[in-house]
C-alpha cells in the first residue's frame, strides 16, 4: 500500500516537473544567449528538473516555431558551430506572464500546505 502511494506520488512529481520545463527554459534564457548544451547544463545545475536531452532540443525547436525564442549559428573554438538561442520580445512577455502565474500559484499552495509541514 505504501509502495503504491509512493509510486503515485512519484508519477505526480514527474508530471509536475514536466509542466515546468517550458518556463524553466525561458527562465534560463532570461540571462542571455545560450546554446543547447549550455541550456541543459544550466537546467541541471540550477533547477531540480530531471531533463532528457532528447526532449529539450525538440522543445527548443517548438519554442522557436512559436516565436518565443530566436536562434543564431556562431562559429566556436571547439571546431564546430554552435546554435545559440535568445528570447524574443514575445518570449520575454511569455516568461514574465508564466512567472507571475507561478508565483501566485506557489504562494497560495504554500499557505494551503503550511499545516502539513507542522504535522511532521
Amino acid at each position: 500500500m505504501i509502495t503504491s502511494s509512493q509510486e503515485s506520488a512519484e508519477k505526480w512529481e514527474v508530471q509536475l516537473r514536466k509542466g515546468c520545463l517550458e518556463l524553466a527554459i525561458l527562465a534560463v534564457l532570461w540571462g542571455g544567449t545560450l546554446y543547447g548544451l549550455e541550456i541543459l547544463r544550466r537546467l541541471e545545475s540550477d533547477s531540480d528538473l530531471i531533463v532528457s536531452e532528447g526532449t529539450v532540443y525538440p522543445l527548443l525547436s517548438r519554442l522557436k516555431a512559436l516565436g518565443l525564442v530566436k536562434s543564431e549559428w556562431v562559429e566556436s573554438d571547439a571546431g564546430h558551430p554552435r546554435k545559440y538561442y535568445a528570447l524574443t520580445s514575445a518570449g520575454k512577455q511569455r516568461a514574465v506572464a508564466m512567472a507571475a502565474i507561478w508565483a501566485r500559484f506557489s504562494s497560495s499552495m504554500g499557505k494551503l500546505l503550511a499545516p502539513l509541514g507542522k504535522e511532521k
Binding site: 516537473r17 531533463v51 532540443y57 525538440p58 516555431a65 549559428w73
Partner: protein
C-alpha cells in the same frame, strides 16, 4: 576524433535524417547540424572525442527514431492544430496513431465521425434519385426487435419496414452531416492540443 567515433556519429545522424523525412529540407539540416554539434561537444567533455564518449552522448539523446518522432510529430500536430482541413488532421492523426494507443483511438473516432457524416450526406443526396428506398428506416428483424437503418436506396425497400423521415432526410441529412464533420474536426483538434501540451514535455 577517431574514425570509429566519426562513423558512430554519422550512422546516428543518417538514421535521424531518414526519419525526419516529411519536414522541410532546411529544418532537417538545422536539426541534424544542431545535434551533431551537441554530440561532438558532449563527447569531448573529457578531452578527446572517443567512441565511448560518443556512445554516451548518443545514449543521452535516445534512439534516433524516438528523437525524430518528437520533432516530426510535433511539427505535424502543430500544422493540424491550426488547420481545420480534415486531410491535414488525418495526416497528423496517422502519425500519432503510429506512436500511441491514445492516438490510435482518436484516429478510429475521427474515421467513424467522418464516415457517418459522409453517409448522412450521401443519403440526403441520393434521396431524389431513390425516392422510395433511400432514407432512415425502422425495420423489424426476425426476433421481433426494431432496427434503425440509414439506407442509400440501392436495394429494394425493406419488407415491413417503415420510413421515418420521408423527404425531411434531405435537410436533416445535410445538416447532420455538416455537424458531424464540424464536431469530429473540433474533437480531433482538441485531442491534438491536449496531446501536444503533454507531449512537448520531458519524459523521465
Amino acid at each position: 576524433m577517431t574514425s570509429e567515433a566519426q562513423q558512430q556519429v554519422e550512422e546516428y545522424l543518417d538514421r535521424l535524417r531518414e526519419r525526419l523525412r516529411g519536414l522541410h529540407a532546411d529544418d532537417i539540416r538545422e536539426i541534424v547540424e544542431e545535434l551533431r554539434s551537441h554530440i561532438l561537444e558532449k563527447a569531448a567533455s573529457s578531452g578527446q572525442v572517443t567512441p565511448a564518449g560518443v556512445a554516451a552522448a548518443l545514449a543521452g539523446l535516445g534512439s534516433p527514431e524516438r528523437l525524430a518522432g518528437e520533432y516530426v510529430t510535433d511539427s505535424l500536430l502543430a500544422q493540424a492544430e491550426v488547420s481545420r482541413t480534415p486531410w491535414r488532421i488525418f495526416d497528423a492523426l496517422f502519425r500519432w496513431a503510429s506512436l500511441s494507443v491514445a492516438g490510435f483511438l482518436v484516429l478510429l473516432g475521427s474515421i467513424a465521425g467522418y464516415f457517418f457524416g459522409a453517409v448522412f450526406a450521401l443519403c440526403a443526396v441520393l434521396k431524389p434519385i431513390h425516392p422510395h428506398t433511400a432514407g432512415l428506416w425502422l425495420i423489424p428483424d426476425p426476433a421481433g426487435d426494431l432496427q434503425v437503418s440509414l439506407r442509400l436506396g440501392f436495394e429494394g425497400a425493406p419488407i415491413a419496414g417503415r420510413e421515418l423521415l420521408g423527404w425531411w432526410i434531405v435537410p436533416i441529412g445535410l445538416v447532420t452531416s455538416c455537424l458531424m464533420v464540424i464536431v469530429t474536426t473540433s474533437f480531433c483538434s482538441w485531442c491534438v492540443r491536449q496531446y501536444r501540451r503533454s507531449h512537448l514535455l520531458p519524459r523521465r
